[in-house]
Symmetry: C2
Subunit: 420 residues, 2 copies
């Protein structure tokens, strides 16, 4: 089933030639120029359905786009941020020169334009798009589309969050293990401690913690498919008794724990719930407990792309560090350590995209060509955003203000001095 078809996006994988409007008029070229201007005049080749280049660019642009019909051109003008993604996914737009470099070129121009015209910025759209009920729908939309699908392009342990590359040649598998090690070392895990995890994906971090550090873990997740996989994997490893995977919302975490950890969930919480999350941590953590939140972030509050928000990650928002302080400040948690790993996420995504493309045919069979194109665009756009510094990856370590058992910062896992 195509996820986009289900969302009402009609798919028309093109044969490379438009058929509905064979003649290109002067008005079409003018509309194309208006569209390019509206996105900050990126230096790219832009072709309409006659194949002639109408882009406004310098000598040798390396990337380009082809718009296959007049309807698509109009759609780009009326709502470029939503319709570009849909029309690329549906095959009504082609990208030349690689999707990642294309997206970098466009984002670079758009960032400049946003700086000049701040009114382009949109604000968070939903007053509560992440209530307990809405969150279930949002998470189901993205994470419950089939473990078999994710298995095709994630690492062996199925971590769907930023890895940590201790050296340039590290494989994705190594880098995901290194990320889990980094998290455990920042938390100074000790045997016998009780860990609570908010948002556990397919459960790899809980298994790593229990296996390597002898802790017990309660992991919360509202993705049904992920929980089923996580339980099976823990049982297969003989960790069924020390890990409890709970199919429930983070807001229902109960009990007292020595460690709170959350890797890749905050993006789905929504800033309007940060204080609530802080209160959940406050009631869940012992007096000398310690916590870590790992999340995609940004430098200043910008909305998600409407396409990403409606088609890929409903209800998501990457916080600024300042916004994250709403979690910590009101409950008097002290931030002990922040590390920004954004280039590690660009590299992680590159590996995912590479594996995704290697399994393109298989994924097309599982879903359809529109699905493949939309996920390619999502992964490529994310690589571009992490490479350009539009997105950050923050790991934040915290404890209660009065806790004086402050761990010293662990040595980096890097085997070489400058891995990136």
């Amino acid at each position: 089933m195509s996820r986009l078809s289900a969302l009402g996006v009609s798919s028309r994988i093109s044969n490379g030639k438009g058929d509905s409007c064979p003649t290109v008029h002067g008005m079409d070229r003018w509309l194309l120029r208006m569209f390019l201007r509206s996105i900050g005049d990126p230096p790219l080749r832009a072709k309409l359905w006659d194949g002639a280049d109408s882009g406004l660019h310098g000598a040798l642009p390396v990337v380009g786009m082809v718009i296959h019909d007049r309807t698509t051109l109009w759609r780009l003008l009326t709502n470029p941020l939503l319709n570009f993604g849909d029309d690329y996914s549906a095959g009504r737009i082609e990208i030349e020169g690689g999707v990642v470099p294309f997206m970098e070129t466009v984002y670079r121009a758009m960032t400049g334009k946003e700086r000049r015209e701040p009114s382009l910025r949109r604000h968070r759209n939903s007053p509560d798009g992440n209530s307990v009920a809405a969150a279930r729908g949002n998470i189901h939309h993205h994470y419950d589309i089939g473990n078999d699908f994710y298995r095709l392009w994630l690492d062996r342990e199925m971590l769907y969050t930023c890895a940590y590359f201790p050296h340039p040649a590290a494989s994705l598998e190594e880098a995901q293990i290194a990320k889990m090690e980094l998290v455990c070392r920042k938390l100074r895990l000790k045997s016998g401690q009780r860990v609570v995890e908010a948002g556990c994906g397919w459960g790899a971090l809980a298994r790593h913690m229990a296996r390597e550090y002898g802790v017990t873990v309660r992991s919360f997740n509202i993705s049904r498919e992920q929980i089923v996989h996580a339980r099976e994997a823990a049982k297969a490893e003989g960790l069924g008794k020390v890990i409890e995977y709970v199919e429930d919302d983070y807001r229902n975490i109960s009990g007292r724990h020595d460690v709170f950890v959350s890797v890749g969930m905050l993006e789905h919480v929504g800033p309007e719930h940060y204080r609530e999350l802080g209160r959940v941590i406050d009631r869940s953590l012992t007096g000398d407990g310690i916590g870590l939140i790992h999340t995609i972030g940004q430098n200043s509050p910008q909305p998600m792309s409407p396409w990403l928000l409606s088609r890929i990650f409903p209800g998501s928002y990457p916080p600024t560090l300042g916004e994250m302080m709403e979690i910590f400040g009101p409950c008097d948690f002290s931030v002990l350590d922040v590390e920004n790993l954004r280039l590690h996420y660009a590299r992680t995504l590159e590996q995912w995209l590479h594996r995704f493309e290697e399994n393109r045919e298989r994924i097309t069979e599982m879903f359809d060509a529109t699905f493949v194109r939309s996920w390619r665009l999502y992964l490529s756009g994310a690589i571009a955003n992490f490479n350009l510094g539009n997105l950050q990856l923050f790991q934040v370590v915290f404890s209660r203000a009065a806790n004086n058992l402050i761990p010293s910062r662990p040595s980096p896992l890097a085997l070489v001095s400058d891995p990136l």
Copy 2:
């Protein structure tokens, strides 16, 4: 000269017995209980001028206070946060059991009280207490009271900011050098780079950077006495040509630099000037430049103690991490790394206080007994606040969003696993 006398605080170093009101009435004990209640009923012995203990406490309070006369008792009731400091300084209040433990006991009770009654919180008092002109007065008040005075209790290189103790037995001298090393390593200094420093104290960091890393440094400071010392010290080391100490406000920094560094100045900038500071950094830093700000901070926006603000550090304010983002967000700087060193500051202050007390007689000769008592209270209160987690020490590393030359985190300098 007594700084407090100059501020209109009358000094009356007591002989330990009040003389103006020899008889203690029931009303006096009631007023004392009201005062203790107003500061959250800390568990301490509280005596009036007859020497009888009127504190409301459990079995064995280790600390206590003696109020020598009725006027002081009334003053504590009407404005405890300002008058306690003045009356202790003037000798109208004595502290028993050590000033640091006493302050910790009181702050612990007051923090609880503030949580219960948030209305106790005060907000920043001055709309612009840190204009270019006001800043000169503020800085002059604290830093221009004599290099000979600071030489008595700071380390050899005269650093008046949080040190970094790589192991528990490190001396203050070692710890200050380790702090400078830590800063240089976080900035990945390279020979030939141009560094600009905002607020340089007596110039030790600039000399360390120039001597150990072969960089050139321009250091800004508006404290006349510090600049004079800094220039002489650089000349004596033969570093006069690679360091320029500029007697000017950070807002007048000009030129382009590879590195921006500021250790212990942000406390004097004021949150209303953070955006402006961000713009100064923005115009001063090259495209692939990197910066570090080291500052006292706090978890949520609380005002300074009015006594500290009026008597010791006019115009000062320790920011939250969220407030600091006003520096970085609007100019699209990315935070790369944050480390909280608050227990290192408690240890630093303990060393300063120890040396200060060793030189008590000399300092009394230089100023007077009131000055000694007021500085003892300031240093002790700061130790208490860092120990209790009411104050933080943030080192924040940042660069431009689009800069992909992100340094990997350096290994800690710690020689043992858990120095604190």
